[in-house]
């Protein structure tokens, strides 16, 4: 539906999510650090891993990729923790500083995203004016070359190739008929005459060759058309019985079938 999650709840028929939705492990970590006022230099790893677990459990459908992202972060945090417990050599960086930097960078990204959202809130109410010239209509003249990138080029190629395939469908291979309707009519006629009430559906379903089943079915319809046989079916999808009407089958009536 919306794999990239670009549309908002507004455009989606689903009810609002009760849990705060997190964009991922980094987002959840940032949220925990802020909401629980925990020191970024002393993040309780066990608690974070519990929270990650809770976030994964809250997902509607487990997604391996997303679960993997949380696992990578849990492993990374654990590694930082264990390294920070070891004595450090002189001049060696605090292993926690990379985490601090990442959280700060992500915080900046979120702040910028919030800023963009507030601009969008006002601007999405505006529509570009587009009126018709008085006399000559303005031809749709394509796009500014500067606005076209290789992604558009690739998309144009895909358009061309798809259209080409639509206009040049592969040839239909028609194999020669292996069963004749005429032969099957005679075969069915004999069976009906012999059994009086012949279960056509079971017979069709036990044919090893689908083409034979189809030919038999057509033969059954022919017998009904020639009023040689009646057809009964008590319920949809139930057995189809062919019974003789008493009218004999005359071979010359078969014509070209």
């Amino acid at each position: 539906m919306d794999p990239a999650g670009l549309a908002t709840a507004e455009a989606s028929p689903r009810p609002a999510v009760v849990l705060p939705a997190f964009e991922g492990p980094l987002d959840l970590l940032l949220h925990l650090v802020r909401s629980k006022a925990m020191s970024i230099w002393d993040i309780p790893i066990a608690e974070i891993c519990d929270q990650y677990h809770a976030a994964l459990a809250a997902m509607d459908e487990p997604d391996l990729e997303v679960a993997g992202e949380y696992l990578v972060y849990a492993a990374w945090l654990t590694a930082i923790k264990s390294r920070s417990l070891l004595p450090r050599h002189e001049g060696e960086r605090d292993p926690r500083s990379e985490l601090v930097e990442r959280l700060l960078e992500y915080h900046k990204v979120k702040a910028a995203a919030t800023e963009l959202a507030s601009i969008e809130e006002v601007r999405r109410g505006m529509t570009a004016v587009r009126i018709d010239p008085a006399l000559t209509p303005l031809a749709e003249s394509g796009e500014e070359l500067g606005d076209i990138d290789v992604a558009r080029l690739a998309a144009a190629l895909v358009d061309v190739l798809q259209r080409f395939r639509r206009d040049h469908p592969p040839h239909l291979d028609l194999p020669p008929l292996r069963f004749s309707v005429r032969a099957k009519i005679l075969e069915l006629y004999e069976l009906i005459e012999r059994q009086r009430s012949f279960p056509l559906l079971s017979h069709l379903l036990t044919r090893p060759d689908r083409l034979e089943s189809v030919t038999l079915f057509v033969a059954g319809l022919e017998l009904v058309r020639l009023q040689v046989s009646r057809v009964h079916q008590r319920l949809p999808f139930a057995e189809i019985y062919l019974t003789p009407t008493g009218v004999p089958l005359r071979e010359e009536a078969l014509g070209d079938v």
């Binding site: 018709d132 008085a134 070359l145 992604a151 080029l153 690739a154 998309a155």
Partner: protein, 185 residues
């Protein structure tokens, strides 16, 4: 702001994006509760009056089916100059498709391009040659020895590529790959 003033702004905005004549009833319907056709008519009168002021480039016209904003007829020359100018700096969908074929299938001939696109592309290829996005690169040694086309240095510069190997596969930019099963002529 008075009701009519607000209504005048509303009418101008709707007519400016409608792309077709708008009936008074349609304006009444979007104007909200308590707005009568008479009030809308008054607002349209004011809008028409204001458009007649010197320095305005738009006119409000009554046409079949309602009202529309259009450019002042005397300015048609400038509009046409603008349209022409813009067409020159733009690439049509046909040109984009042809450029894509040359880029991904080079060297390629005009008959091959025509075959893939299903329409004659001679004029489009000429435009691309003029825009210096494609160039002639010899002849194909087949019947008729048609010219072979390749993309230019300027093409690579425009798309920020070092070489043709940098062109992304459609799947790399999220397009389903349509390559399989398509053969040349």
């Amino acid at each position: 702001m008075s009701d009519v003033t607000h209504l005048e702004a509303l009418c101008e905005a709707v007519l400016a994006v409608a792309g077709e004549p708008v009936a008074v009833e349609a304006l009444v319907a979007v104007a909200g509760e308590g707005v009568t056709p008479a009030l809308v008519a008054e607002a349209l009168d004011r809008l028409a009056e204001r458009c007649r002021a010197p320095g305005r480039g738009l006119v409000l016209e009554r046409v079949a089916g309602g009202w529309r904003l259009a450019t002042r007829p005397e300015l048609e020359g400038a509009i046409r100059a603008f349209a022409g100018e813009r067409a020159r700096s733009r690439l049509s969908q046909a040109a984009l498709e042809t450029l894509a074929i040359v880029a991904y299938r080079q060297p390629v001939t005009l008959p091959e391009i025509n075959f893939l696109r299903g329409v004659s592309s001679a004029a489009v290829v000429r435009t691309l040659l003029e825009r210096r996005l494609v160039r002639v690169a010899g002849r194909k040694p087949v019947v008729g020895t048609p010219l072979l086309y390749r993309t230019t240095r300027a093409f690579l510069v425009h798309f920020g590529l070092d070489d043709l190997a940098g062109l992304p596969a459609p799947s790399e930019v999220g397009m389903e790959d349509a390559e399989e099963g398509v053969v040349g002529p």
